[in-house]
């Protein structure tokens, strides 16, 4: 029987931990942190119900602890593997906790949609090669373009009002260029004490800019480094 890991927290929540996906949730000390785990024999299937339950557990924990580092969905480790994965990582984990402590994540989506172009109509491809090249989505090409946009760094101008008016309430920001069926995403890390003020401004902004969609607050999924 292995441990299914939901998150690392800097301090175990007060009171009962509640349940995980099926069984009881436990706090297991490791590397100066506590791993919130559940005994499981296998990984839950990556279906919508499992994802919802997983996120619900992580969100519930996040509301009860100062700092949380969500762990990748499907992380199932036995005792030795868990200890080994966290061994000598105290400094990294402490740094990650300091980054997300007392913070939540808001997500803005919108801006450019991923570019979809038929290869057969791409003028840069020689005519003789076009009929043989089939495919409309081109995930590889999109991935390379996404990396190129990410390398350029700055979010598109559609997010400028958001960044200007909310910038002073944002501790950290992260931009993900459009990929596949997802548009551009701007993640903002906001102090919990400033959430009410952030939401007030963000509501007004979102109503003025119907092309952007706001969601949150979430645990800091986009800002938590991969510790496992």
């Amino acid at each position: 029987m292995s441990w299914y890991v939901f998150a690392l927290v800097d301090a175990p929540p007060h009171g009962p931990l509640g349940r995980g996906l099926k069984g009881a949730l436990r706090a297991r000390a490791a590397a100066g942190a506590f791993a919130l785990v559940e005994r499981r024999a296998d990984v839950p299937p990556p279906e919508l119900g499992s994802l919802r339950r997983h996120q619900a557990v992580v969100s519930r924990i996040a509301n009860a602890v100062p700092a949380i580092l969500p762990v990748r969905f499907g992380t199932l480790l036995d005792d030795d593997a868990l200890d080994e994965a966290l061994a000598d990582r105290e400094a990294d984990i402490a740094e990650a906790f300091a980054l997300v402590r007392h913070h939540v994540q808001f997500t803005w989506r919108g801006g450019a949609k991923p570019e979809v172009r038929h290869r057969s109509s791409d003028p840069r491809i020689p005519t003789g090669l076009r009929p043989a090249m089939i495919g409309a989505t081109q995930p590889g090409l999109q991935y390379m373009r996404q990396l190129a946009r990410r390398a350029r760094g700055t979010p598109p101008s559609a997010f400028r009002p958001v960044r200007e008016k909310l910038g002073r309430l944002v501790a950290m920001e992260k931009f993900e260029a459009a990929a596949m069926s997802r548009g551009d995403s701007l993640y903002q890390l906001v102090d919990r004490d400033g959430v009410a003020r952030y939401e007030r401004i963000a509501r007004r902004l979102a109503s003025e800019m119907p092309g952007l969609r706001l969601s949150g607050p979430f645990p800091p999924f986009a800002f938590a480094p991969d510790v496992l």
Binding site: L51, R52, Q55, G74, R109, A206, L214, P219
Partner: protein
């Protein structure tokens, strides 16, 4: 054979009229529709005097995250795949293979691994 002086009784095969004597039904005045008793409805909503502002923006603090957020939050960094494979021959287990794989885009692990040990993921 008729006996007596009275009028002849109707033949037995004739049916008696079912219309009641007096005014015909079509001559009667139609009955006035009964007035429905007005029962005041319970006021579950606010009066419609002031129109509510139209909600254009998405709700910020919705309880249930959308599917896109769900997938983005949980699967954006990839999925751990675990599998146990047993190679058997004639119902005899010969090889046990335990697989634990991380399926994700390369840049999700390249940066950290690159910083940590200079490896390429």
């Amino acid at each position: 054979v008729r006996r007596g002086k009275g009028p002849a009784p109707p033949p037995k095969t004739a049916k008696q009229s079912t219309v009641r004597r007096g005014r015909l039904a079509r001559e009667r005045r139609p009955a006035a529709p009964r007035r429905r008793q007005v029962i005041p409805k319970p006021t579950l909503r606010a009066p419609k005097s002031a129109p509510r502002p139209r909600r254009v923006a998405h709700i910020v603090d919705e309880d249930q995250a959308s599917v896109l957020d769900l997938i983005d939050n949980l699967l954006n960094k990839g999925v751990m795949l675990n599998a146990d494979v047993v190679l058997a021959l004639a119902n005899v287990d010969l090889v046990y293979l335990r697989l634990s794989a991380l399926l994700c885009a390369a840049d999700r692990v390249m940066s950290r691994r690159g910083r940590a040990g200079g490896r390429s993921g």
